[in-house]
């Protein structure tokens, strides 16, 4: 874990009067998929949003690709190479699929090869290219959300629960696309509640509880230990499944 793309040191984040992150320490290695796991409400989404600059860290330091980004505004962080897929997908529903993709390719027009790659991974986006994104189904919106992150090469993809509320068939389409991204060497920090998907895609795992990272290690270690799963995530039921 020597080559780190992102490190968080003792990050505290408040949302209104609530103290949500209580000193998050997190290392994200380059070229691997790190899964952030934990119960609902422990601060996983807040951590991603703090990394993106959408919530300000009250205390602590965030460094990305060798640069301290703690005080940078969100657009500057994005331009450094952070791609964000939010939990609510953040689709612009009044814009067409094409317009959504045009915005996502901030540095220039979407090149043909990349477009083709996205269509191969997510065929419905080709079908509905000229349609308003608001008319897409939930699964298709999630495809668009991930496709937007893929519109440019990002140094780090922050992906928040990409399989939330999706039918199993679409979950596997999504997992396959993320697997491709991973195989191309992308670095991903992902929040995922679906342990099967997390296990299949993750190289490393970071378990959160109560606004802190309480365990880090390899995914294999976590997946192989029913004890760890039960201790940190109350996953004893799923572990046997």
């Amino acid at each position: 874990m020597s080559d780190l793309i992102l490190t968080l040191k003792n990050v505290h984040t408040d949302i209104a009067q609530y103290h949500i992150l209580h000193g998050v320490d997190l290392d994200v290695p380059r070229g691997a998929v790190t899964m952030m796991l934990g119960r609902n409400g422990v601060g996983k989404t807040t951590t991603l949003r703090t990394i993106m600059g959408l919530w300000a860290a009250r205390d602590g330091a965030i460094s990305f690709d060798g640069q301290d980004i703690t005080g940078l505004p969100t657009p500057a962080r994005a331009r450094l190479g952070l791609g964000f897929v939010p939990e609510d997908m953040g689709i612009f529903t009044d814009l067409t699929v094409e317009e959504n993709m045009m915005l996502a390719a901030a540095s220039g027009p979407l090149d043909a090869a990349r477009k083709e790659r996205i269509f191969t991974a997510f065929p419905p986006l080709r079908t509905f290219w000229d349609s308003e994104a608001g008319n897409l189904s939930g699964g298709q919106k999630q495809m668009l959300s991930i496709a937007r992150a893929m519109a440019e090469t990002r140094k780090l993809y922050l992906i928040d629960e990409p399989t939330k509320g999706l039918a199993p068939a679409i979950v596997s389409t999504m997992a396959a696309a993320l697997r491709e991204l991973k195989d191309e060497g992308a670095t991903i920090l992902m929040v995922e509640q679906n342990f099967a998907v997390a296990k299949a895609l993750g190289d490393y795992a970071a378990v959160m509880d109560d606004g802190r990272i309480v365990w880090t290690g390899t995914m294999a270690e976590l997946a192989g230990s029913a004890e760890l799963q039960e201790k940190f995530m109350g996953l004893s039921m799923e572990a046997g499944a």
Partner: protein, 343 residues
């Protein structure tokens, strides 16, 4: 890349009722125009009133377009917008007075050049004023509606009083440039030349705005920003700069609207903008907050309705637009084409 399963959905024909429902806001204009003809009976009176209503609507649209964007994009209720209308009118009309030889000459080219310079001056001043207004008055109260109302109403009062300081307390009467006086006769109806010009300007502006919004990246950023500003920033765009740009453009448009309205009324007062704001707010609300198209349709409906009713039943003219707003909000509570989803 391994292919996901093919995607070959079957497309159903959209039933005619749904198509009509979607197009309904646009259809309201011809419906109102036809109803106007039926109610008025006399085609030449009807044509005069229709052109008059369209001209009025176009001018309201020019003033409202900036406000709806500022509200949609920045969630800012800017009552100060009315002051930009007045300031624009005073600056523009002052320039026209200075160019009175051009404005008084019987040459359409010179007349239009004088108006163009007046408009440019008004837009530059109100644009700059808008920039200062955003920096000093609005910036500290982003996200707090009640404070916005208080502070922008305060700004409105200060600007109005400043007009009194600079131009004096009296209303200023003016006459239109020579070639824009009077009317032309068409099918027995008298159509004021200036109103035809106002319709043309409004149309050109609307088409230009639509092109910017549909065909340019900055337009896409604005449209996307109205819906989800956070995500636009997460894609790497500095929305703050776009915000300020839209605020400046919206203020400049208010200035343009002020010049047009001043020339239409042939009198300007410091309070004219504030008076217009009632109609402007009605238009923004019935159009759907943040929607330029909605504001355009709403403005035309308001202009036509006002003129028809004033002719048919002058006593009802005052409440006709409130009635229109009530009816539209009962039909579509978020306005005809809402862009800003209920927050």
């Amino acid at each position: 890349m391994s292919a996901a399963p093919d995607h070959k959905p079957t497309f159903a024909d959209v039933p005619i009722t749904e198509r009509v429902a979607q197009a309904m806001p646009v259809l309201l204009i011809p419906i109102l125009v036809v109803l106007g003809l039926l109610a008025i009976g006399n085609p030449s009176s009807w044509l005069t009133l229709t052109v008059s209503g369209l001209a009025m609507g176009m001018m309201i649209f020019v003033m409202a377009s900036g406000l709806t964007l500022v509200f949609g994009l920045m969630d800012v209720i800017n009552f100060g917008h009315g002051a930009f209308i007045s300031v624009g009118a005073f600056v523009g009309i002052s320039v026209l007075f200075a160019l009175s030889t051009w404005a008084g000459a019987p040459s359409l080219a010179l007349n239009l050049a004088a108006i163009l310079l007046a408009v440019v001056a008004a837009m530059v001043v109100t644009g700059a004023l808008g920039w200062a207004f955003e920096r000093v008055i609005v910036k500290p109260v982003y996200g707090a509606h009640l404070k916005q109302i208080l502070v922008t109403v305060g700004g409105l009062i200060v600007l109005e009083q400043l007009i009194h300081v600079v131009w004096g307390p009296e209303e200023i009467f003016l006459t239109r440039p020579e070639m824009l006086k009077g009317s032309i006769t068409f099918w027995g109806a008298a159509l004021e030349k200036y109103r035809l010009l106002a319709v043309a300007v409004g149309l050109v502006l609307f088409i230009a705005m639509r092109l910017v919004f549909r065909r340019t990246k900055i337009g896409l950023i604005v449209r996307a920003g109205v819906e989800n500003g956070e995500m636009v920033e997460a894609l790497g765009y500095r929305l703050r700069i776009v915000f300020v740009g839209v605020f400046i453009a919206g203020s400049a448009l208010a200035g343009l609207g002020g010049v047009m309205w001043g020339l239409y009324q042939e009198v300007i007062t410091a309070g004219m903008g504030e008076e217009m704001m009632i109609l402007v707010f009605i238009v923004v609300i019935i159009g759907g907050l943040g929607s330029v198209e909605g504001a355009f349709i709403g403005a035309l409906l308001v202009g036509l309705m006002q003129n028809y009713i004033a002719f048919l039943e002058p006593k009802l003219a005052l409440i006709s637009n409130i009635g229109l707003m009530t009816a539209i909000l009962m039909w579509r509570p978020q306005g005809m084409m809402p862009v800003v989803k209920a927050k």
